[in-house]
Symmetry: C2
Amino acid sequence: MSGRLKFCGWGYEGDGLTHEEENRLLEAYAGRFDVDGFERATVPDPGTINLRAPRITPPDSLGDICSTDHMDRLLHCYGQSYPDYVRTFNGDFSTAPDVVAWAKSEADVCAVFDWAADAHAAVIPFGGGTSVVGGTEAAVGDTYKGAICLDLTGLDQVLEVDRTSLAARIQGGIRGPAMEAGLRGHDLTMRHFPQSFELATLGGMIATRSGGHFATVYTHIDDFVESVRCVTPSGPVESRRLPGSGAGPSPDRLFIGSEGALGVITEAWMRLRERPKFRASTAVSFAEFANAVEAIRLISQSGLFPSNVRLLDAMEAWLNGFGDGKSHMVILAFESADHAVDAWMARALEICAACSGSYDLDASDDTDAHKAGTAGAWRTAFIKMPHFREPLVSAGIIHDTFETAITWDRFEALHAGITKAMHTALKDVTGRTGYVSCRFTHVYPDGPAPYFTFVGLGRHGALLDQWRELKARASDAVIECGGTITHHHAVGRDHMPWYEKQIPPLFTDTLRAAKQTLDPAGILNPGVLVSAP
Amino acid sequence: MSGRLKFCGWGYEGDGLTHEEENRLLEAYAGRFDVDGFERATVPDPGTINLRAPRITPPDSLGDICSTDHMDRLLHCYGQSYPDYVRTFNGDFSTAPDVVAWAKSEADVCAVFDWAADAHAAVIPFGGGTSVVGGTEAAVGDTYKGAICLDLTGLDQVLEVDRTSLAARIQGGIRGPAMEAGLRGHDLTMRHFPQSFELATLGGMIATRSGGHFATVYTHIDDFVESVRCVTPSGPVESRRLPGSGAGPSPDRLFIGSEGALGVITEAWMRLRERPKFRASTAVSFAEFANAVEAIRLISQSGLFPSNVRLLDAMEAWLNGFGDGKSHMVILAFESADHAVDAWMARALEICAACSGSYDLDASDDTDAHKAGTAGAWRTAFIKMPHFREPLVSAGIIHDTFETAITWDRFEALHAGITKAMHTALKDVTGRTGYVSCRFTHVYPDGPAPYFTFVGLGRHGALLDQWRELKARASDAVIECGGTITHHHAVGRDHMPWYEKQIPPLFTDTLRAAKQTLDPAGILNPGVLVSAP
């Protein structure tokens, strides 16, 4: 790895799929779509891309941390969404920020806020740049004189570790791997692994309510936050370190999910744990989807709290290159730093068996089981997935995901409604049959968080419009079926129209009032969470 | 039971301690204070109490639901705090509401809001009337033309049950027992049992972030709320039923803990569970307090999630009439509707043993163990405790509790700091040695929620001032030692000065902005959470 982020693609230059892996991936899709191959688009040379001249100039005092360099602006234009990749291939960077500012301290953050307020420029807080919902795109419209991307990856330290309470004070700009590396010396870990873990920053995870590795109890990063420190244009807000409190509405909960619209999360005390010493993991196979769902419902309501209880429907497994395309899989895992988890796994497997699930009992005894068998295959696929986007877009394949949550009583109708809507939409939009699959990423006693993948054979030149229509159909279906527009991908710009349908209008008004209090000049990520009045 | 609430004392007329129980209680205290007996104050005849004439008159349209009856006004003046009892004995009801309005519907709630805004009167939402922090006292000052107590106990229905998701839509004014009775027919239970359960209403529990029966995971009512419907003076706010969501800051979290200052919680979808079929409960005894604390810390971080893991220090056990006054007790319990809990209990007891705890292994096998032995004695004492207040006040004994939460690394210093501060305060205020004890009500992986009891021999005529000084010293110590001013008793009026020290000022400003949005006339529970500007 070069340590330099890719211009197009996931992660760092030198990292990614091998040629063979990429070919296998596209051959599989060619087979699925019954085509000989794909017309491949090529990534444009960054040097050939037109950017408008910066509309604003940083004051001299900020010269050291600011850049208007062509490549810096390109690399801070987009996140990792499907339309971000399409526009990258198209060489369309019309929303690139005018200036990139790298904050190394809270003083830098404040100085950028002050400059922006004076210049009437928008400030886009930027962590890992892994948003899949347009959360960091400076598409702020013409009412602003310019846009400053505030890169926070310089705030990258584990500041303090409390080994007794299992907590640490950590800066918001640190990326997942650096944070875990900083904790490892204390024999601690957060064990919150969103798919974006490699690049995502702690502050970004908190600001977007990221979903991690645990499928139950500790699902969102919300549950790991002990306190936050958030720098707003009106000043800093810091909550007390408390394991729990009943003193009025939680201050932390205002900033968890604030998506850069209220302030910049510069620090947080995070709840940690010891590294797991005991594990059990196995895959359970179900002939009937409804039986797999029922097993997971019962497990979610059992109080067993598995670390993983992920459903992959037959299509989802097959699209990821394993399973026979007929069986639905439940990946079930327990882990503990304290005790053997045999009793837990035994009871969960009893529940699965009672719902006609079948499994290979021996596999569950292996402490490395999470890296072996179907569970291991899924784990490998999950980690590789972010690398699939670039070749798929290049091949004109539309492949995207969306996710929601719903109570158990309405899951069947939501699943049927969304599946039907997306099959119809794929046919309408691409003129041919596409694929729709479903998995559960997280489950709660009162309902699952279903995660849908849709795949269609798109057309170069039309990909953006095709995707937009499919995304709108998907989002309409989610809201009509009673779900949330996002369980852990966040709102960003892409989900705003549906977020506004979901959220009670008076709550939106209170959020607007909060923003007016904390960001009176309205410079922070304008248009995200709070639309223009 | 008569079904009529007591004028002075917990619960309903006819309910409470027997004469023998009351005598035993006071004899025990006489022994502790080494006095022959106590001068007993008597509860005044309600008919002899002066109330000022109602300052406002309900409009004719509200005549059916409004009352200015003397007894209605008396019964809606106070909650269940120590100073509430002292003032009841003193016959001081100067803050009684002018009018009591019984809402039977949301339309009634809205009508009362409209009247209050027109009349510039304050509205005090009133559920079970069990606040121990002055949360429902109409001490709103003279800027309001009058005060209306809005009694919500007419909103008392379980409206809808979702057996699949284990959830129900329930009205906010229903009391604990009626709610559980309504769920029992569906073989469901919420199993959230605050000490105020008998009288407290669901909406009141949500508005005050009540703490329930479970010592881990499901500690606050927050965790049981799937969605809320809150009627504000600006209109209704209703969130979607969702098991989880990542769409911006949680709307529910604005209303959870809003203490009647933002609106009235008229309905909520609540998460339920099946009734436990498997139980294990035992008491573990520790010679050293620090060892008991360490055992609980390790259990809280183990992922075993006991339903109960309550520490009672030796003094706390002794004050409640069991234990030898030397041993510290940990009451440990597991329960499940799904599986036997032997493996869980076995591991928790291993942890206790490693910390030098001793226990009677046989007792833990009894499925009725939670009603037997030390655990059972504690359970009985816990349920009876609300009945102690009236005789203790009558005897001039100052006996109150306060609670907080703190990370494990700071617990020892907080415990020492508070204990010392309260011993000193008791000596200063009462002129003689008092008692200070500590228990844990709830525990988290990163820290406990310690609950302190202080007892002193007060003086009739001075009780209110003595209590105020003791309460101020306790609250100062809590805040100085880094704790929260309340883990689950709420803020109310009594905690406001310390709440304002604890909460970041900019968060208070956003709360004020939210209130301005939802309650523009500022009629709702003025002075609670948001002080006068």
